[in-house]
């Protein structure tokens, strides 16, 4: 069954990269533009993985992650935090909010895809 990835980012370009990347890799991609949207869509769609931008309008990515993880159906869904501040304590804050992984912008799509494959399929990606 095709795995579904929820991509949360307020920047259209960055959202599109992720959509192109994961669609191209054969995943089903759903998207959200704000933190509140993300919580709503995640609740409705129950994705297999969430890519969460941290700098979002309204509630930020940490808060959205907290709300997603608070639901029993989503408690075990992996969340990857994507931040571009990369300040000391960001990784810590991400972990505190319940994010399972952490990448900082700009990320290499190649490396991110490898990471997602490892998480979702539990196996290293095939050599590209």
């Amino acid at each position: 069954m095709t795995k579904r990835i929820l991509v949360v980012d307020d920047n259209e370009d960055n959202r599109q990269i992720l959509i192109d990347l994961f669609s191209g890799a054969g995943y089903e991609v759903i998207e959200a533009h704000t933190g509140l949207d993300a919580v709503m869509i995640a609740t409705r769609e129950v994705p297999d993985l969430v890519l969460m931008d941290i700098q979002l309008p309204g509630i930020d990515g940490y808060e959205a992650t907290r709300r997603i993880k608070a639901q029993a159906a989503l408690a075990r869904t992996p969340v990857i935090a994507v931040t571009s501040y990369a300040l000391a304590g960001d990784d810590r804050k991400a972990a505190d909010a319940g994010c399972d992984h952490y990448v900082s912008k700009p990320f290499s799509p190649r490396a991110l895809l490898a990471k997602v494959r490892t998480i979702l399929d539990g196996a290293p990606p095939p050599a590209a």
């Binding site: 920047n11 370009d13 990269i17 571009s84 990369a86 300040l87 990784d91 399972d100 700009p106 799509p109």
Partner: protein, 469 residues
Amino acid sequence: MNLNMLASRRNDVAVPPHVHPVVRLNRIVRVVGCPMAAVVVASVRWDEPTPAWIWLALFAYAFVWPQAAYWLSRISADQKRAAHFCLIFDCACFGATGQLVSYRPVPTVVLSTGILTAVTGVGGLPLFVAGLTVLSVVYLAGSFAADWQAASQTTLLTIVLSLAVAFLFQLLLAFQAFRQARELIQRRRQIEEQSAQIGAQNEALEHAMRRAEEARSAMEAANLAKSRFLANMSHELRTPLNAIIGYTELILDATYGEVPERVRGTLQRVERSGRNLLGLINEVLDLSKIEAGQLKLNVAPFALPDTVNAAVSSLESLAREKGLKLSTATPPGLPQAIGDERRITQVVVNLVGNAIKFTDAGEVDVRVTLEADQFAITVRDTGPGVAPEHRTRIFEEFQQADTSTTRPKGGSGLGLAIAKRIAELHGGTLTLLESEVGRGSTFGFTIPRAGPPGVTTAAATPATEAPTT
């Protein structure tokens, strides 16, 4: 009285300030009082047979004793106590005058009230009691010896003299009291002025401290604002850069279909430029993080030779392009180093990258050694060298040794400043060990073997890019 005032003034000037005021007061009172008492006694003894030694004693008491008492008190360790003892001796002497004036009422009353007034004026109730006791005892002893032979007749001269003495002596004491009261008032005024001055000074000091505090917090706020601005700018710069690098990579990976070879080369240039720009942005962010005190080290044990080799080999292609010989020497069997491996890699890449960048021919040599309690990484090149006047400036932000080379060599000029700060965060150093213009430079980077100060190995958390909970 003017004489007394003069005398006291003269004393104020002549006598060292450590003379107790009581001693000074007693001298003035005695210099005037003792001769007056002697005159009263003499007026009685004039008509009666008196042995020569009594005249001698009277003379000594009138003129020698005032000075003797003063000096005795002055040289004493406890001047006030000595002055009190001298006054008790005065009481004894006055007691003895009882018999000398044959207990005639007028001189007796004048003399005893005179001495008791003086004693009480100096020592209050305790000295009054002591003086009265001594005076009475000597009076009584004298009276027993004289078998109560009180004379009833008093000559007019004695009466007049006694009353004059009583009047003058009271006047003297009154003036002394006035003088002391005036001094007291003056002193109080002085103290008030001084405390007002001190108050004003305190206020000025507080004001200055408040201003310094305000300046400090303003500076901190400015610094924080600057760091925040840099961090936010960095975020704003990274977001489009993410799209540039990300899309380039996606296109190169044939996500949107096969890429013609000609376009592939161009895209690789785009990607390389994007990554260069990212490197510069990272440096700006690093510096702002360091300045905001937000750069935290991810301290863990690691194999320093492996880290250095990896960092150097990432620059091998660059050295090869310029035809430089790049060599590393790491002795076998080095113990594990403790620090932030990623940051130490950053420093090594910066040092070696600079060496390659500035060296046009020759070699770049990297060595790792363990000297006593610290690891040392030395990077030697055969580049242009650093002139003595530039040796401190190269470690400052936004500086390269020769600004004319900034453009051809590129770079933000932040790398070395950041590397130095990273070395210092580790408790180590980054210095220019030696340099000769036209021959080359050697940079030295040290980190303590025990790791950064304040971080124990046990507390060290392994560096993870992806924390899991």
